[in-house]
């Protein structure tokens, strides 16, 4: 009869304070063209796009248990679909970004069909093989430059939606305005990605996803359709990764198969970011991408030594703090910026009266 005297909340005090801090940060980021120079805008663009790739890989590997090493297929195909739509059909590059996402999903369907027959390491290798096949096939596509690649046509660059307005608004040259446009799109994509994944993980489906990752059989026993769950997150991750790939190469304005399907740029770095930051947490890739950016801007001049240092650091973190830097911070302080764990408040639970 009596109403339950408890409430279920997921928020913590830190997460609410963080909410205000986040709002301030977002305002500052949106206004970045006012206070940042062009180099800094490009750096921020790099950080945001790597964050998006890392968030989607974290969704796959950290929450879905799908350790794919073939996400560069979706970066590359998304980028090439955007270039193809611009060059072949004359589509404006900005809406063509969406086509990149669509193309990635179209590739993800057969990829999932074959790769989902494999588990663990075999799944990882299978996705990699499929990604390399995609690279080889795209290299045969002569309209977009075959193996040597091509640039975004001059007229397409000039006509890009919004560039003129931005150039007039900030009184800058068209090239700089294109960077601002790409940056704003990346910021919007990053916000949508983090917010979307957060909403997903807080929902009923988030719990189901965790259940599938923990134990497929037991998840089925409580009514979770594990197969559908895996399919959906694989397709969602492909869509987001494809859009991000298209955006990266829109900013780049030049594409080649080896760069677009680079396993180092779009996979090794992304895994590094997620592992360093903390796999299976939304905060992980955010911490990871900042660490990665600092390392890259200070050490990348050392070439191969830099890559070896990254590898050593990743191994060390995996051994000492398997849940990443954010795992260490969170364990020490109990901080949760994106709380997804539900908590009960109000100690006494009302007695049921018969």
């Amino acid at each position: 009869m009596s109403a339950p005297a408890y409430t279920v909340r997921t928020g913590t005090r830190a997460s609410r304070l963080f909410g205000w801090g986040l709002l301030a940060l977002l305002v500052a980021l949106v206004a970045a063209p006012l206070w940042a120079d062009r180099g800094m805008i490009q750096d921020l663009f790099f950080i945001l796009t790597m964050l998006v790739l890392a968030q989607f890989w974290n969704l796959l590997a950290g929450y879905g248990g799908l350790i794919s090493i073939g996400q560069q297929a979706f970066v590359g195909l998304g980028a090439y679909a955007m270039f193809g739509a611009v060059i072949v059909w004359g589509v404006n590059p900005v809406p063509a970004i969406l086509l990149g996402g669509v193309a990635a999903v179209l590739l993800a369907i057969p990829t999932a069909f074959f790769a989902f027959r494999l588990v663990g390491a075999y799944f990882a290798i299978g996705t990699w093989v499929i990604a390399d096949m995609a690279r080889l096939i795209v290299s045969q596509w002569q309209v977009v430059g075959g193996g040597t690649g091509t640039s975004l046509p001059r007229e397409a660059r000039a006509d890009m939606w919004g560039v003129e307005t931005i150039a007039a608004l900030f009184d800058m040259r068209a090239a700089a305005a294109r960077d601002v446009l790409a940056y704003w799109l990346a910021l919007a994509l990053a916000i949508a990605t983090v917010a979307g994944i957060y909403a997903l993980l807080r929902s009923r489906q988030g719990l189901a996803l965790a259940a599938v990752r923990d134990n497929v059989e037991a998840a089925g026993a409580v009514g979770v359709d594990a197969k559908r769950m895996r399919w959906s997150i694989f397709l969602v991750a492909a869509f987001g990764t494809g859009i991000c790939g298209a955006l990266i190469f829109l900013q780049n304005a030049r594409i080649a198969p080896d760069a677009a399907f680079s396993v180092v740029d779009w996979m090794a770095y992304v895994i590094f970011i997620v592992v360093i930051g903390g796999i299976g947490r939304i905060e992980g890739p955010i911490v990871g991408v900042l660490v990665f950016f600092v390392l890259q801007s200070t050490l990348s001049q050392f070439g191969a030594w830099y890559l070896m240092a990254l590898g050593l650091l990743a191994i060390t973190v995996m051994l000492i703090a398997p849940r990443g830097l954010w795992g260490v911070i969170s364990d020490r302080t109990g901080l949760q910026l994106f709380p997804i764990q539900r908590r009960l408040y109000g100690g006494r639970i009302a007695k049921e009266t018969p």
């Binding site: 339950p4 009923r204 719990l207 189901a208 965790a210 259940a211 990752r213 923990d214 134990n215 059989e217 037991a218 998840a219 089925g220 026993a221 409580v222 009514g223 979770v224 359709d225 594990a226 299976g280 764990q341 539900r342 908590r343 009960l344 639970i349 009302a350 007695k351 049921e352």
Partner: protein, 236 residues
């Protein structure tokens, strides 16, 4: 009285290895059946076939007369057959409360809510925020039972819920069974402990090598009958 759950000529196995050779059992609405048998008799395989983990022909398992054999695990769960798996199989990354909440995923309404489970096993209310796998064995078993109840099942399958637990803990867990039945679930318990099975069930089925060798109400079966059926000893 019509049978709620019925298996007829149920055959199932693992690849080339056939583990069940035509099992017929019926569970009446509101009833409690016990499956007893030694290790390897096929008890767990029977549970796995009923819940859809192992494939079988549609007509071999019926719920309320409808053929459900061989449907997918999640589809069968949504029909209201919930299992407390052997070894509990809690989700290690989820808290006690989340483990219970995920049990309600199938979206069936009924008497079992988070609050009702906390009433049944009060210790879980205290432990609700800790990871499920950090609890003692008995408490984990309570979480596993609670998780299955959250689905508001019509049929609750309990696979060896006393395995590896101290007798006093087993008694506590079995004390919950009458309340679970009162709330409307029909129950099948799989047990190696014959005395425990005889105490709670109104029908006992004994299995050897994938076949039912003896069935009957506990009061009608003599110790010798069960002994013979359990160990496969030829009657003299």
């Amino acid at each position: 009285m019509t049978a709620l759950l019925e298996t007829s000529g149920l055959k199932a196995g693992y690849g080339d290895f056939q583990a069940l050779w035509g099992v017929d059992i019926t569970l009446a609405e509101g009833g409690c059946a016990a499956i007893i048998g030694a290790n390897g008799a096929g008890k767990t395989t029977l549970m796995r076939a009923i819940t859809g983990v192992l494939p079988c022909a549609p007509g071999m398992v019926r719920l309320d007369g409808a053929k459900i054999g061989g449907q997918s695990v999640d589809a069968i769960a949504k029909l209201g057959i919930a299992m407390v798996p052997e070894g509990r199989k809690l989700f290690p990354s989820l808290s006690v409360e989340e483990n219970l909440r995920i049990g309600a995923y199938a979206g069936r309404s009924g008497p079992w809510t988070l609050e009702a489970v906390f009433e049944l096993f009060p210790i879980l209310r205290e432990k609700r925020a800790v990871p499920g796998t950090s609890l003692s064995g008995g408490q984990q078993q309570m979480v596993a039972i609670g998780r299955a109840l959250m689905a508001n099942p019509r049929v609750l399958l309990c696979d060896e819920i006393s395995l590896g637990l101290a007798p006093v803990v087993i008694r506590d867990i079995y004390k919950a069974l009458p309340r679970i039945r009162e709330a409307g679930a029909s129950v099948i318990v799989v047990e190696q402990d014959i005395a425990q099975a005889m105490a709670v069930a109104d029908e006992v089925h004994c299995m050897i090598e994938g076949r039912i060798t003896l069935s009957g109400a506990p009061g009608d079966l003599s110790r010798d009958d069960i002994h013979a059926a359990y160990f496969g000893v030829a009657e003299t």
